[in-house]
Subunit: 413 residues, 2 copies
């Protein structure tokens, strides 16, 4: 029998979220979301939308006019770009170095692309030459990359790929969900045609809004598929020459017309999530984007030192690790899930498990956004060491802490 | 030159949102959204997800297992259902009585459906016979309806359509975005196979989350198109016989597997929006769904009395008006946008403009969710009358108020 009295007020327990994301939101972001709503065409609201465009241009390091939000999780931003750019039958190339490369293949396939992949073992990334060779062979219309794949913690270097794409007439996209704000990303300097991200990693916000940016070239590709919605079209509207986009919600031509001066009605902007996205950007830009990235690098490095100091093995090529997440090999003496459970139940600290080939083999520990802080790193290390020792893994008590502290001490010199 | 100091803290002005939605969020919903995040597989989080399913079953008046949220605006819920249910080439029938009927056609066309429509003039709705006749002629696989079309303020009666659909082997969907929570909707009793909604109308929340419910029959249709994502599929997973769903984000089979006991990773649930959706449901069910609908009916009726008392004409067939929004003919003595501007600037009250054939002809005034209250109705009427009189429209001063008060007085007797 249903009884509403059984459903109490939302009151989640305190958690320190040190997994691969989502992580704790910055309290400022939560406060921004608690602001009362205003109408979607209220000049104050359209003013906030315009500000969001300016702020995210700074974060994406771009002059791209079309820098805005897709209303959904980070995956919605990926799909909006792929559905809007890929015409059925288009060839795409996906360098796969983890689960999110597979996701790009999966989404591209559902866009009816002809999908070609190259793969490296999990824990590694591609050289520019490997990608250029594949481009020469496949001759794709789009190169779809993941910048940081949380499944392996690796960061694919992108800086040389833009030139390669330009030489071969290929559109260049990256999914920066996991890396954005904690690792360098230069949309314009690197020649990216489209980038998508999310708030729930290094940006310190909740999942549910996906910032994206589109180059002028990408805009043109999308405009060629323009198809104005029946209920609001007038004789002044003209459709494009290319095949229509097979989605209304993810038709970025329509999303542009909603964010642009025409303000052509499309979805109803998710106001509270826009408030969140705006505050995330403001927090990072007040700190300074480069300063924030350096902060992610520092705490990531302290975590590595601590983990190694504890006698644990790290996963993958550390030269190519994202600043904000580390793979840690689960020692054979313990059961990975038992450790995670004890950390969660006794310390209220969450670290991540893994997918696919790494399942049961590594934990993933994040230091990102609001949680890229010394106290979070030190608390996590002490708790993890205590749990491991309790469960039979022998470390030199305290060595992890000293190693992490040494990193911080060097930095402040 | 970019300067972060120019971007101040989110601080929207107070607005009383009396348009067709979004409207002001209930402060309880805003407080729920300000709760700190927890991990997506934290037992507390999956517990909240399960509670959301239970709560929305009550709101949708259904036993449907698959009652959950799509992470996006209400339009995302529509598209998720249509993309998941419609196979390319499927015939669909859309009875169009306003803009959102056109939207269903538009989305269905992008799903590559063969779209058939019947139309009535804006301001009217269909009889069951009209719809049954069209079903006999078209023989569609799906009937796509709008319950309440905010563009015309009309509410399509649905109670007899389920039987008709069953007799003809047609899947029955309705978009209840604008009507949900403020008008009767009986998913099971009316034989609906799928319903989608949004938070930003009678539910008193922000845009950005779309509650949906799917019948067992609809589940089966979707399961036949199952296609497990490459990065997470195992040998235990088997694909369905029907053509795959041409979207990953909107593949409701995957969304079910994420909300179901397998908790197969898909998107990362938009935690803050889920908190909002849960609180919206809790508020309505504490009041009682029927009591809340009666409240919407009362304040809607008081608004009609007030508008008529002022000497203004209402729009459309009032027998079929939604409880929560009223079309008001703009008197020839004034300019509609000037009135709206003065209401917004001098009273901070927002009322709605109109689309398409009604543009410039009617305002739309909402009384919904948190704003379906006596004080909101009386404030709006006094402000509107004052503005109209200031701009040259002569009413019997005070008559509007007396008429509205009379409605309230009758009710409390």
């Amino acid at each position: 029998m249903f009884d509403i009295q059984h459903f109490s007020q939302i009151n989640p327990p305190h958690r320190l979220l040190m997994g691969p994301g989502p992580i704790n939101a910055d309290p400022r972001v939560l406060r921004a979301m608690a602001s009362q709503l205003i109408g979607q065409y209220d000049p104050v609201m359209t003013g906030y939308m315009n500000e969001v465009m300016v702020l995210y241009r700074e974060l994406f390091r771009t002059q791209n006019r079309w820098t805005m939000l897709v209303d959904g999780t980070s995956r919605s931003g990926i799909e909006a770009i792929l559905l809007s750019a890929i015409r059925p039958g288009d060839k795409v190339l996906v360098p796969v170095f983890g689960r999110f490369g597979h996701l790009l293949c999966e989404i591209a396939r559902r866009c009816r692309a002809e999908v070609h992949t190259i793969e490296v073992p999990w824990g590694e990334v591609f050289t520019p030459d490997q990608i250029e060779d594949a481009i020469k062979t496949v001759k794709p219309r789009l190169l779809l990359t993941v910048q940081g794949d949380t499944s392996t913690t690796m960061l694919q270097p992108l800086e040389e790929l833009g030139d390669i794409c330009r030489r071969h007439g290929v559109l260049f996209y990256t999914d920066a969900t996991a890396s954005f704000g904690g690792n360098k990303l230069e949309t314009d300097a690197w020649g990216l045609d489209a980038v998508s991200a999310g708030l729930q990693k290094c940006l310190g916000g909740p999942s549910g809004s996906s910032p994206i940016t589109l180059s002028a070239q990408m805009e043109e590709v999308i405009r060629r598929r323009k198809c104005v919605e029946e209920g609001i079209r007038t004789t002044a509207h003209q459709d494009g020459d290319d095949e229509m986009i097979y989605s209304n919600y993810f038709d970025l031509g329509m999303v542009m017309d909603y964010w642009g001066p025409e303000r052509l009605n499309h979805h109803t902007e998710a106001t509270s999530m826009l408030f969140a996205a705006r505050e995330c950007a403001r927090i990072i830009l007040e700190e300074g984007l480069d300063v924030g990235i350096a902060r992610h690098e520092l705490h990531g490095r302290a975590l590595v030192a601590g983990i190694q100091g504890m006698g644990l093995e790290t996963f993958g090529n550390l030269q190519h690790k994202m600043n904000n997440v580390l793979g840690v090999a689960i020692p054979s003496a313990v059961h990975g899930e038992e450790v995670r459970k004890m950390l969660l139940e006794d310390f209220h600290i969450e670290i991540g498990t893994s997918f696919g080939p790494l399942q049961g083999k590594i934990w993933r520990i994040g230091t990102m956004g609001y949680n890229a802080r010394k106290d979070c790193v030190l608390q996590t290390l002490t708790a993890l060491e205590a749990v491991l020792n309790r469960l039979g893994f022998k470390s030199t008590q305290g060595a992890a802490m000293q190693a992490a502290w040494d990193v911080y001490a060097q930095e402040s010199r």
